[in-house]
Amino acid sequence: MKTLLDRLAHNLAKPAIGLALAIALLAAGLAIGLYNERVTRAEKMAELQVQADILAATLAGPLAFDDESATREYIDALRARPDITAIGAYGPDGKLVAGFARGPGILDRTSRLQPPAVVDGQIMVTAPVVQTGTRLGSVRLASRLEQWQHRASRYLGIAAVIIMASLLVATLATFYARATTARQRLEEEMERRREAEDALRQSQKMEAMGQLTGGVAHDFNNLLMVASSGLDLLDRTDNPERRARLNQGIRHAIDRGAKLTQQLLTFARRSPLTPEVVDLGARLRTLQPLLERSLRENVVIDLQLPAGLWPIEVDASQLEVAILNIAINARDAMPNGGTLLFTAANQRPQDPDGPATVRLSICDTGEGIAPELLEKVFEPFFTTKGVGSGTGLGLSQVYGFVRAAGGQVVIESELGKGTAVTMTFPRSSKPLPHRIYRHQPMERVAGDVRVLITEDDDHVAELVSEMLAELGYATARVGDAAAALTLLTTDRRFDVVLSDMIMPGGMNGLDLAREVERLYRDLPVVLMTGFSEAAAAAKAEGRPLLTKPYTINALAEAIRAVHPG
């Protein structure tokens, strides 16, 4: 109801409609005035007619018996009324017996009966003088219409009210229309601002990314070095013990690399602010390898996180960016190395109505910030770093993120001793999302289970085929979704479809999964991808997913989850 009224008001609040309403109001006022005028005139005529009838009845005797003085007396009595301009009393022969006129041409010398009429601005009424059916004469009365002063005083007040109301309506409509336009403009402005903020957040993230890249690339080279040299050494030795150790080293290097790329992809993902319930301790521990990569070897990361930290509700990716930003600032403040200490604690509310919070402090043992600069560090584009080293967006991102999460951030510093950034977040009353970790030993499947592999990359397809064969599955491989669907129409003896997500052709893996689900309800599809956005899309639909690169154990687990055998 309210919205309907709002919409109506919104549609009506246009200057043209306001003006039309005002004109309508004026027209209505005018119409009422005219109607009133007519009614008043009719009433006046009726009243004058009654007066004439009374006079006629009174004059019966005087006219019958030629009593002119009495006739004149009765007529003169009515002279006191200023609106009556003429009275005439006529004998039975129609000749004027007595009368008066307040102006020339008003009073006829002879009488003729006529209905009440307005002639030259005068109301004229006549009445016969009759006594028991005998016509004794007639009377005629003339009265001016209401005096203009009276009429003006009657209408002036109403006219003023109507004109004021019309003006008010027109003014209000104009103002409302202006306010509506302003509100629309404000909304557009806010939308633009939101977009700009999104862009800023992304660029802040990319800035942090940039800071990371150097360290990560270095780390990757190390990992590749381990893998490459390990393979070389594998070729040159037959010692099973040594081979096993080399194998383990290569495996470890690849695992670290996979973990690192996964974090980078998650980190770089362009996503809107989506607060989720987060375990701060777990997040920091997950982030630790990435932090170690992005800082130098001479910076020691010390996590002192108690168990049982309360959950908080924040955008997880923004939290990571904020921590990275603080860590990078700390790194730059410690050119000769030092310690980056993370401490966290639950804080009970200080007053009964206050919120319970979780505090996270990040302290470095760096150069510190001068007191006069401390106030400015949260301002965007404020930086103490040299040209090309920083954009000054890091701490402003921290500030924006903490405020958006409903928390507070405080920075304290002492020159030569170090800097501490303390963030407090409100405790979340929601539970942490549930996580299931399954550890199943790898074992070969019994019986004949067939897996259809849909993968455009020949190398990947070959490796996956081998892994599946190792696990005891029979496989067939096609290059794209269309080929998979074609094969399924002729050969239905597949138990699982394992499909890449990004493939050539019009159909991606997700489309294939939908189509297979539609056509073959009991044929499960497991998707695999290395793209974080594709992974998010698959997760959103709740589809089984393997994130590349994955281990043979993960593959076995994923296939067994959809086809227990």
Binding site: G61, F65, V97, A98, G99, R102
Partner: protein
Amino acid sequence: MGHRGWHGMVLLRARLVVVSLALCTLFQSAHAQAIVPDAAAVRARYLVKFVSFVQWPAGTFATADSALQLCIAGDDPFGAAIDTSARAERVNGRPISVRRIGNAPPDQCNVLFQGHVEPDAVPTPAPPGQAMLTVADRGTSPAAIQFVEAGRKVRFIVNLAAAQASGLVISSKLLGRAMAVER
């Protein structure tokens, strides 16, 4: 400017007063100069007019349009004037019939004008209970309405007791025009 405007208003009003005064004078002088009609003709006219101001008891007239009998007893002072006046009038739709009855009894008469009679002639009285308006010149004969001469005008005196004795009701409008009302 304001001064001249005000002066103009005063002039206009003064002119209006002069005009209306002139008009009034015109009417009054017109009547003052009217020729006084013959007293007998006036009395004849009045006699007929009286009828309009008098109410007869119910059942006086046979039918709704039966004529009203205006009788003239004794000498007739009106001559043709009374016939002319009577012909011109209708009272509540009834014509007025003029009868000269001399000294005969005023049977069926609704109005009786008692004209001059010789001293030895005795007018026949009206039958008792007959609703009859009696009219006479003052000093000639007792009557409900008596004409009198007042200066150059014809006036009349109403004797209410006589009228009521005949069962007649006389309109206050007629009483208002009477020179005197006797009870």
